[in-house]
Symmetry: C2
Subunit: 319 residues, 2 copies
Amino acid sequence: MAVYTDVSDGDLTRFMAEYDLGAVLSCKGIAEGVENSNFLLTTERGSFILTLYEKRVSPADLPFFIRLMEHLATRGFSCPTPLHGRDGQSLRSLCGRPAAVISFLEGLWPRQILPFHCAGVGDALARLHLAGADFPMTRPNNLSVGGWRQLVETTRERADEVAPALADDIVGELEYLESAWPSALPQGICHADMFPDNVFFRDEHVTGVIDFYFACTDALAFDLAICLNAWCFESNNLWNAEKAKCLLDAYQAVRPLGAAERAAIPVFARGSAFRFLLTRLYDWLNRPPGALVRPKDPLEYLAKLRFHRSAGGVEAYGL
Amino acid sequence: MAVYTDVSDGDLTRFMAEYDLGAVLSCKGIAEGVENSNFLLTTERGSFILTLYEKRVSPADLPFFIRLMEHLATRGFSCPTPLHGRDGQSLRSLCGRPAAVISFLEGLWPRQILPFHCAGVGDALARLHLAGADFPMTRPNNLSVGGWRQLVETTRERADEVAPALADDIVGELEYLESAWPSALPQGICHADMFPDNVFFRDEHVTGVIDFYFACTDALAFDLAICLNAWCFESNNLWNAEKAKCLLDAYQAVRPLGAAERAAIPVFARGSAFRFLLTRLYDWLNRPPGALVRPKDPLEYLAKLRFHRSAGGVEAYGL
């Protein structure tokens, strides 16, 4: 639940005068997403999303995100694309923040995940990986193995406030992952945050994928492991092997995994659970008093991490 | 900022099957309003608002609100109107709450109030009062003078936590208002909550008024006094006499006040400031820990109340 910045009608009118989208008919803050301020904007030309990039998104990264969305759309992958103003620019400033008008994507994100959703997201992720193959820009993933030591150092001192012996647990896990992390696997454009609220469906079909603000260059199988964590556990954190099979089969129907990638899935599944455990732990320990956003529960990802630790081998993932 | 209830895609699809609005194309929670859960719904037939009535709205009052919106729209007053399902019903149930699909109203609510906005709201309020004149249902205003003693009793014990000597202040004010409250003034349908976020504009014109969930039967001049408080103070709580004149002149151009109504404006201005002071004080003292909604500041209305106390006479209001 978000909307951090309130945009005045005067500021909005001046901002929209830079676009050929006609008069603004309405503008309503959307209570979704936690990183940016998003508004559903209706103009004489249709519906759009107005995004104000808040402090968690680095302005230096915005050209990468914006051009990636344009590139993917050009390759036939359905995602929001930024609109260009009369000056050709798609990134400008509103209320002191970088801001862009983005195309509106139809569809609903699924609250209750069924196996067909997992098949849809597996297919969409593989198509995204192929569509990104010739994207010329790169962006390192600072939330992969190379970034975790810093997060562990920042959170370990107070980690036991969240769960008993969590500090020792994350230190040990970091050591394991740093030693076991596979290198030299196929890299490319990763979405890196393809959770259910970022994938829109109409009936059983994916209408598109949103929120590319964690996108980066990393091992493609690591992106797949993020989806396994995000889509294939039940709400009680129990693993659903059927959903995992749907997701992996649909992915491989478009982009078959190599042998080394298949072998890496167990450690990538641990690693991606660890990544969300660490960032949620950080947000939990650093939530500002009186914040309007309730931080997500780090313990959900501790439970998922423990499943992957005990799963043992690629067979657990149906590979 | 709201959205209390998260509606699953399956529940939404089943709910919308009762309407002839085509397939749902998108549904996004709106981060506005604090009483109900509101979603901007796009279907094959256009844009609509889906409202789930949360606990602060009494289900017994919903037929009054729904029929009032229909009545006002029939009389040419621009406001949202509920859509009827195939069974003729406009009120049904979703996620265990009363729910309705409401027409979408274009326009932006003003963040920075200019004199023309005050003229627009004065004109709209007078037209609402006339359009409501032949509405057959009534609903008592439990947030007028008859309801304040209960609120004072509930809040006085802890009122001094919010401002020094506030408890004595509200007890004294209550006694004054109970003794001075005018009776036998023209009554009718009041909006009773016509704040800037409930009045939409396009350019300098009002496109419509939303949020009738405090509407009631009360003295029309009291409704006007609510607007004076909501629209005619600057953000530092200083009175702006020009804005008040714009609002009152525009109101009287449509519905001239009688002599007794004009004479009642000063006490109604005190009373309406007191009403919002009391309800904000109650919400402030009773905010649940970890709530996602930041309660509005009661001290804003204490400052407004003090202005009205010292203003002295109808001349202060340009009457």
